[in-house]
Symmetry: C2
Subunit: 181 residues, 2 copies
Amino acid sequence: MASVFVGTSVDGFIARGNHDLDFLPEGGGEEHGYEAFMATVDALVIGRNTFDKVLTFDAWPYGPKPVFVLTTRPGPRPVPAGATVEFLAGEPSEIVARLGERGFRHLYIDGGKTIQRFLRAGLIQRLIVTHVPVLIGEGISLFGSLAEDIRLQHVRTRSFASGLVQSEYLIGPAGRDSPAP
Amino acid sequence: MASVFVGTSVDGFIARGNHDLDFLPEGGGEEHGYEAFMATVDALVIGRNTFDKVLTFDAWPYGPKPVFVLTTRPGPRPVPAGATVEFLAGEPSEIVARLGERGFRHLYIDGGKTIQRFLRAGLIQRLIVTHVPVLIGEGISLFGSLAEDIRLQHVRTRSFASGLVQSEYLIGPAGRDSPAP
């Protein structure tokens, strides 16, 4: 099982074009289920851009949780103390298969390009999107082009005092179907 | 006061690139407040693309409610029987001023380009967006570029049995502010 848990502006951006996150509430904002979600995650799969961004944070946000960074650039890299990081290359289906063989059952897929690649490949089963009450006009989109429509099953939506609105959707095997001709 | 009441895919599209609406539930889907909203509306302001699309529907959806169609192409046009339609050209601020002088207090702004123009001009005070549980990958976006961030005040979010999720936001005069330097 692979999940996305992500915050976006109401117009669907996860970051500004320069990767800034200044439109998000400080410190991640009001608690909106991140800790509870993380407790169910076996490993993260993130893109290199997200990894590079996270390295600029004051603290490594993933604790000792295994983090797999997708990159085609080989070679050793600095990794923060206490972090468990491994670099991988490959198609989303290979990544999921390899991590599954290693016993990682619940993957948290993060980062714009990575989320889009895994969605396109039909490898995301759960989408938890938190809308931050702002329009920013342009930036890095959460969603991208698809080969076909992906139908979602709405599980629940919660809103929070600070204005965050969080919707959870499931994507079943039947979620990938072509639009009616 | 000007409001937007619109349905989008979860990835933010109000129509496919060819203006098709086949991903929306038939007949507008489960009742989700459209009638109650329309009862508060004095007049609609829509773009020419939206007008042309609406003309292809089986029935004119706006009843006798005055509909102002923004277009720069002059000349008479066919208008459905029973419809109250007027063609206008001008900047959003002029349109709002002219309609205000004529006593239209609550405007319903509809159509992709028109919504974006009025938002950019700071002339939308209320945004009611209903997310339909599907990702379509590409199409005509609800939102577009902005000169500056627009902060939203979350009013309420409702979800419906069919999976529709509707969020209502207010945009105050203070809603238009620059991002922190």
